[in-house]
């Protein structure tokens, strides 16, 4: 099993095509949609995690290339220095995916799975303890 986090760009012409269905059917990969912003007849993007057998994931991405569907691989990830965090919470309202939230004890909670690596939290952190890792 392997996982790849990607952002698929849907051009106007692609929005009507059942791309995700084809990927699931042809390559037996699982989709975990993290963020979607697509409307029929206009452009959009889909951030998703694709998981499955290593070969299947690779073939699925190749299939996107063949269809000329543009996508971006998330090779970076956000890291937070937990010990240095003061739990102020400034980063939570700029986080578009709900990856950064305050828990019931008012501590900062970071759910890496939900993170879209938009990097807004890096600027929002007043003590500079959120960084991007390659």
């Amino acid at each position: 099993m392997t996982k790849a986090k990607i952002k698929i760009y849907f051009s106007k012409g692609n929005v009507g095509k059942p791309i995700t269905y084809e990927l699931v059917k042809k390559y037996d990969v699982m989709f975990n949609i993290l963020h979607a912003d697509i409307n029929y007849g206009s452009e959009g993007n889909l951030i998703t995690e694709i998981s499955g057998e290593e070969k299947n994931v690779a073939d699925a991405l190749k299939y996107l290339d063949e269809l000329d569907v543009k996508y971006k691989m998330y090779t970076k990830s956000i890291i937070r220095d937990e010990d240095a965090c003061i739990d102020c919470g400034s980063c939570t309202s700029v986080c578009p995916s709900g990856a950064l939230t305050m828990n019931d004890n008012d501590e900062l909670q970071f759910d890496k799975e939900k993170c879209l690596v938009c990097e807004l939290c890096i600027k929002a952190c007043p003590i500079g303890i959120i960084k991007v890792e390659l």
Partner: protein
């Protein structure tokens, strides 16, 4: 009715009943104000937030030959030296000459508290009594003379939440504000916050002994922009910007856990300051004030782009929930001040008092109960 002296007698014997400003809410609910006031002696408060109007005086000691420092930098951050020869004031928001916003006065203060060596560079014109014209050396908290925090305005009694009505992200001292009401940021310790627990300053006044940055400090004056005449709710709690305090304490005794340099992107530097104030429960009225809960504390919303004004007020229970409804849509809310650390401060102060390491002081004189805020008008020079 209890006097502060009576409460101090109990503290010295280790018999004082001390609870935090969060704990008192439940106790008051269960026992009622009257009984709770009889049983509880002290309620401790706490806050840990960015407080720009902060800084520290440092006396570096004299070199040989001596210098009357005229322009000074500490780790490349300018300090004010328009005082006697080697007295300096480093302000929290001053920016580094070399690193800009990344490192400011607040970071210098944190590094000083941490015990690190600080690069001192000073220039002067030289006088008959102070002939030296330049000095480059290091200082730290063990080799300077006095070093005390003096913050002209801290612990704002209430603070408006911030939003952005424009089409662009704006970067403010209230954090990153996303376009088109994309988020709301607010800053308070709410029901734990010192001045919200003594809304009319009945016990907190000039001379009050407090927890400051992990050490013992004092309220030294009313803070700048102290605005006690602000509109208040039925419970006496101001519904916007109101009272403030100036505080002072020995910087050398403080801890970086409660004194932390900060940078707000594209705004600049600041300092997180930890403050805790004990409130003596001298009567039922005081207990009632300390039992204030987040749902009873309201604050307005201000457009930080300055374009719009709103009538709406939210209480801190709503803001703390992580989202509110604003202009018909769900908007994420975020705090700027750390509630976990505020809670820790209230608990630490409680512990100090319970172990007889901290006694209460009566205010030498009260904070002004009436005052107004002046605007700076552009006036003709005569």
């Amino acid at each position: 009715m209890k006097t502060v002296a009576e409460i101090n007698e109990k503290i010295k014997k280790g018999k004082a009943v001390v609870v935090t400003a969060e704990q008192v809410i439940q106790i008051a609910k269960e026992k009622g104000y009257k009984r709770a006031a009889e049983e509880i002696d002290v309620v401790t408060t706490g806050t840990f937030g960015p407080m720009c109007s902060s800084g520290a005086f440092i006396n570096t000691g004299h070199s040989n030959p001596p210098i009357k420092m005229q322009s000074v930098t500490l780790n490349d951050v300018p300090a004010y030296a328009g005082l006697a020869a080697v007295d300096l004031y480093i302000g929290a928001t001053e920016l580094s000459n070399t690193l800009g916003m990344e490192y400011g006065g607040g970071h210098v203060i944190e590094d000083f508290v941490a015990g690190k060596d600080i690069k001192l560079y000073a220039k002067s014109y030289g006088t008959d009594c102070y002939p030296r014209k330049e000095i480059l050396t290091t200082i730290n908290k063990n080799n300077v003379n006095q070093a005390y925090m003096y913050n002209p305005r801290n612990a704002y009694q209430n603070y408006p939440a911030a939003v952005n009505s424009t089409d662009k992200t704006i970067y403010t001292y209230m954090g990153t504000l996303l376009p088109r009401y994309g988020n709301i940021n607010y800053s308070t310790a709410g029901e734990l916050s010192p001045l919200l627990n003594d809304p009319y300053y009945r016990t907190i006044g000039i001379g009050t002994r407090i927890f400051l940055g992990g050490a013992i400090g004092y309220v030294s004056w009313q803070g700048t922009q102290h605005n006690p005449s602000q509109e208040r709710g039925e419970n006496g709690v101001p519904t916007s910007l109101a009272g403030t305090i100036a505080v002072t304490g020995n910087l050398k005794d403080m801890s970086t856990r409660y004194v932390k340099g900060a940078t707000y992107y594209k705004y600049g530097a600041s300092l997180f300051v930890g403050i805790g104030i004990p409130i003596p429960i001298i009567d039922e009225e005081m207990l009632m004030y300390t039992a204030v809960a987040n749902k009873d504390i309201y604050t307005p919303v201000v457009d930080k782009s300055g374009n719009e004004t709103y009538d709406i007020k939210y209480n801190y229970e709503q803001l703390r929930s992580g989202s509110v409804e604003f202009k018909g849509k769900k908007v994420l809310t975020a705090p700027l001040s750390s509630l976990t650390r505020a809670r820790e401060i209230a608990a630490t102060l409680k512990d100090w008092i319970q172990h007889s390491n901290f006694t209460l002081s009566e205010a030498v004189t009260p904070l002004p109960k009436e005052d107004k805020i002046n605007k700076l008008e552009i006036r003709e020079m005569k």
